[in-house]
Structures are given as structure tokens and as C-alpha cells.
């Protein structure tokens, strides 16, 4: 079953055409990595999925519901089922870790405080930061912040997780911890869409890799095939450059 179905999605920033007639499907339980050069529109595409960025035209179907249909469906309720993790973590600076994780479940899902705390502690254990429940974001390293941000998104028990370059702002030695958490999540069957520069992660963990360039999806498919034998000349060019770097 398709969890997300993107049909003819276009996005303009002023005159700039950033997404051009994008079609993409994401199946339930699938892990899709979106890669491509900077400015290719991959982050914008991801941000359109929960309408943090307003699509200019086209449709996005999430669990058989059009997220563009404000008359029928409250976007805020749909967003509760789509967890998002940002490059800059965006933990709430004035709240400690526990409050960061429990705020949305308490306020939006009306879960009682103790229940929410129990869920939060389980998630903290899962991301390996059980001892940081009382810490404030300013006391955490980048890698810790990002793992808390993942826990915060998971606390709403979403059906899909959207990752927007989750490791790009991290020191190299922190990247591994975050990817480890994401790997475990993928292994549990979570549906994930990941915009990333981590080629090894895309190759090893993703079920499918999507390469974007200049607002188009130029190639998609099985990671082994894409990485070993890309067809599109731009994809070849991009992959040869990023893979040579490492």
C-alpha cells in the first residue's frame, strides 16, 4: 500500500521553479533516501510533504487523504502522523528534554502526564539518552540534540518519519550515533523519507534511492543499482563526485 503519493507537485519561490512536476510514491514500511546536489529541491520536496512549505500546485496523498484538502482534513491532525527531524534539531530551548518530548503528546493527544513521561523514558532509552531527561538543549551536544529530536517526533507515534539532512550539522564523530538510531528505526519497519548527504547510509539502509537535480527526479531505484550503475548522465556525474570524496 502506498503511504505517500506525490502527484505533479510544483513549487515556485517567486520566479524560481524549485520543484518540477514531481511524482513519487512511498510504500508503507519503506525507507526512501533522497540525494542530490545542493539546491536540487530535495529539502523543499520533503518540507512540502507536511506543508511546512506550501506546494504551488499538484497533490500529495497521505494514507489515502489529500493533505491539500483543508476543507476535509485539518493539516494539524495530519502532521501529528508525520514526524519530522530537522538539520538544526530545533529542540525547544526553554524546555528540558522531558518537556520537549512530552509537550505535544500531552497537548495534542491528551495523554495524561504520567503516561506521556513513561513513553518519553522508553524513547530516551531507545536513543541511548536516558540520563539526559532533565537536561536543557544548551547542555547537549549536537548528536545528543538530534537523538532527542528524533525521540520527540516519535513520541507522537507517527506513521512516517521525515528527515531533513539530519546529520549535516553534526561533528563527524557524532554522526554515527544518530545514524545508528535511524538504522534501528528502519529495522523496526518505520516508513522513512530521508534527505541526506550520507551516501553510505543511503546505500546500506535505504530500500530505494531517489536522485534529484534542478527540481527533477532524475533517477530512482534500488540503491545497489543506483550506486553501481547509474543511467542518467547527471546522476553519474553527481555520484562520481560525492563517492570520490570519501
Amino acid at each position: 500500500m502506498n503511504m505517500i503519493e506525490i502527484n505533479k507537485l510544483n513549487k515556485y519561490f517567486g520566479d524560481l521553479h524549485v520543484l518540477k512536476d514531481i511524482d513519487l510514491k512511498v510504500k508503507e514500511g519503506e525507507v526512501v533516501s533522497v540525494i542530490g546536489p545542493s539546491g536540487s529541491g530535495k529539502s523543499t520536496l520533503l518540507r512540502c510533504l507536511n506543508r511546512l512549505e506550501e506546494p504551488s500546485s499538484g497533490d500529495i496523498i497521505f494514507e489515502d487523504i489529500s493533505i491539500m484538502d483543508d476543507e476535509q482534513h485539518d493539516i494539524n491532525e495530519l502532521r501529528q502522523k508525520m514526524g519530522m527531524v530537522f538539520q538544526q534539531f530545533n529542540l525547544f530551548n526553554h524546555m528540558n528534554v522531558m518537556e520537549n518530548i512530552t509537550l505535544a503528546p500531552i497537548k495534542l493527544k491528551k495523554i495524561n502526564k504520567n503516561e506521556a513521561k513513561k513513553i518519553a523514558l522508553d524513547l530516551l532509552e531507545k536513543v541511548g539518552l536516558l540520563n539526559k531527561a532533565d537536561a536543557y538543549p544548551s547542555q547537549l551536544s549536537g548528536g545528543q540534540k538530534q537523538r532527542i529530536a528524533i525521540a520527540r517526533a516519535l513520541a507522537m507515534s507517527p506513521d512516517v518519519m521525515l528527515f531533513d539532512e539530519p546529520t549535516s550539522a553534526l561533528d563527524p564523530e557524532m554522526v554515527g550515533d544518530v545514524l545508528e538510531v535511524m538504522k534501528n528505526l528502519a529495522a523496526e519497519g518505520m516508513t522513512m523519507v530521508i534527505v541526506t548527504h550520507e551516501m553510505s547510509f543511503a546505500r546500506d539502509v535505504a530500500d530505494r534511492v531517489v536522485i534529484m537535480d534542478a527540481g527533477n527526479i532524475i533517477e530512482e531505484g534500488n540503491p545497489k543499482k543506483i550506486f553501481n550503475n547509474p543511467e542518467h548522465p547527471r546522476a553519474k556525474d553527481f555520484l562520481s563526485r560525492v563517492l570520490n570524496l570519501f
Partner: protein, 225 residues
Amino acid sequence: MDFSFLADYKGFFIRGTQITILLAFFAVLFGILIGIVLAMFKISSNKFLKGIASVYIEFIRGTPLLVQLFIIYYGLPYLGIEFPDFPLFGQNVGDFMAGVIAMSVNSGAYVAEIFRAGIQAVDKGQMEAARSLGMPYLMSMKKIILPQAFKNILPALGNEFIVVIKESAIVSIIGIHDLMYNADTVRGNTFKPFAPLIVAAVIYFVITFTLSKFVGLLEKRMDTE
């Protein structure tokens, strides 16, 4: 200079100071409420609300407080909106209300700009994170943005409080028994044109200087956090 009148008239200065502080307190309190709403209007994507806020802020900041005070004190009753007319703690409640309204309407415009700057200084990722969790706009504002903005602008709000205390001397014109008014009364009663004003000035200065020191302390504490 002879300050011997203080023995008989110190009560005037004390009561006047109380009224001044009370007036400034309410003016800032309501000013903050008005300011928050205006700031929200100003940053909203709704052009109509944005327009209302812009006109309000520009108009209030572009006209004298004295004119605003007279418009409210004389204008509202003329339009059929009467202020209550009974004394409380030796002060006519209606006059006091007119003073508070004029001062808060005025202060609100300045507070709005303080809040707008404070809200816009909060990283926009904070709003995005809140919205991505499914929190509606107003809830995100209330729970995530405003608490952080408020912390950033506390010093600026403290300064606004100081400004309001100083500017409030103008309400003596409509007969509010504030510090300025009472100092004037003492001048008349004692036939001393100068010394009572010095006493009033010193009291104003002590209040504002203490406040500004307090604001400075607050600022320092926040820097270290």
C-alpha cells in the same frame, strides 16, 4: 533651600508616589496585553490585521501623549462613554481609569514593536518544529515562541516601564493625584514654587534609577545563562 514643609506634607508625596506607581503598573500591564496582540497582528500574514496594527502603531507613535490623553479624557464622555465618578483611596476612579487607558493605549504601540522584534528574534526553526508536531499556530506561539521572546525582551520591557513612569507625570493635568499633581498642590499650599518640585524630581529619579539598575541586573543574569 528650605525643605521644612516636608514635615507637614510628606503624606502628599507618599500618596502621590503610590498613585504614580499604581498608574504606571496598570499602564504597562495593559500596554503589554495590547502590545502582544498588535505584535501578533503585525507579523501575521493577514494583510487586514497587519494594516490595523501598522496604522495604530504609526499613529500612536506619531502623536503627542497629551493629545491622546485629552482625546480619551474629554472625547470618550463626549461620545457617550462615561467614566465612573466616585472616589477610591482619595482618588477619583474615573480620572484614574482615563489615565490608565491613555497611558496603556500609548505604551501598547511601543510594546508592540518590542514584542515584534523579540518574536522575530526567535529562530524560525522553533515555530517549524512546533508546527511539524501538529501544534496549531496559536498554540505554538503561546507555548514555544512567546515564552522565548518574553525572556529576550524583559530588559526592553523594563525600560518601557521606566519611560511610562516618567511620562505619567502628564496625567496630573486631568486631575489625577499622582506625584506631579501633589507636588504642585504642595507648591500652592506652601507658597514655595521651587523646593517641592525638587522633592518630586528626586522621587522620580530614585524610582527610575532603581528600576534601571534592576533591569541591568536582569540583563547580566540573562547573558550568563
